[in-house]
Amino acid sequence: MPKPQLQPVYLEGPAGRLFAILVAPAPDQATNLGVVYLPPFGEEMNRSRRMATLQARSLAAAGVSVLLLDLFGTGESDGDFVDARWEIWREDVAVALRFLEQRGCSRRLLWGLRTGALLAAEVAADSASSVRDLVLWQPLPSGDAMINNLLRTRVAAAMDGSEPPVTTAALRATLGRGESIEISGYEVAPALAAALGSSRLEDCRLPSGASVRWLEIAAEAGRPLAPASQRLTAAWREAGLTVVSEVVAGEPFWALQEITLAPSLLDATLRSIHGSFPERARDRFSMSGR
């Protein structure tokens, strides 16, 4: 079987040109399923790129078209990070979904890691997106959890004495004054921080019939979900959604300097896309006929 090809794709986003990598199945292997990958925030995106690419390849080998998207202001897309906005990113996702639709992917799902999972849930909650299926890797319960994480990263950066110590309160005050802050070389605009900070998974009213595959890593497989994850998945089930969760063994690859893989996560995700939407199994693996 030929290896899935990686093709550069350029899309017109609302704020500028977007770069994406299309990982496409061989034409005679293609199904009607397309997946847009939404990366995590800032430096986490770089540290998880290898995992995302490997996953995309394995999905493409199974007949799924995958678009690895660089959101506006990130990666190879137009714009500086300081110009990135949550609202622009939501539109970028819509553009990416339309691209896959135009390629013949009559079924589309969103796959997001960390803040990418938040973005995915928000877009799916918007009925205009026609997305009902989500694959969420290590979802954060809220964008504010990421903001805290970012601010603490800045505090930790001063540990070696290379800059004066700073507090998370002072950094929040700087954002509150309308000034951007720098975290690990990324300039975070107050408007982005505010929108991210107010994003919460519990506020995402996913459409009825939606299916969510929730995947977390832990030191060992089979550990329970984090408490916040348990609450969120329970609430979604209560709302009538199909939520399948799994904890797999692995390291927090999005945070590690050394490129780290979590093979269990790759396997679980491939399995989930093969098997976790059984009510549409026939539809999923029908030949696209294009």
Partner: protein, 122 residues
């Protein structure tokens, strides 16, 4: 392998004076075992968090309270420090303040687990 019987002398850390005081309050060898074993447990749990957060693998078996961390472990960059902090908060159900995100706290496994022990007993 972590010794199960007794403790190596260098695994006594800051706070043993305090545990002696608590022994005086409660009396009895059983109480002493309970207090000092919990200090060891904290050290072991902290080691596990480091292993899992930083992908250290079997290297942690050789870690003791004197093992230097910040500045010695190349894995421990600012993003990894935050991962470790978050994991410690979840594992021990504590809140770590900005002031504790410092070279002093992360100087060694001993200083890090001592910080956690202070939070748990405070």
């Amino acid at each position: 392998m972590v010794p199960t019987a007794g403790r190596r002398a260098n695994e006594r850390g800051v706070g043993d004076a305090r545990s002696s005081t608590r022994i005086a309050d409660t009396g009895g060898c059983l109480a002493e075992t309970a207090v000092t074993e919990s200090r060891l447990d904290i050290l072991i749990e902290t080691k596990h968090v480091l292993r899992d957060s930083l992908k250290l693998g079997d290297r942690v078996h050789g870690f003791d309270s004197g093992t230097p961390l910040f500045g010695s472990l190349p894995e421990l960059d600012s993003m990894a420090v935050v991962t470790v902090i978050t994991a410690l908060e979840e594992r021990f159900d504590i809140v770590i303040d900005d002031e504790e995100i410092s070279a002093a706290t992360f100087e060694s496994l001993g200083s890090l687990s001592a910080m956690i022990a202070r939070k748990l007993s405070g």
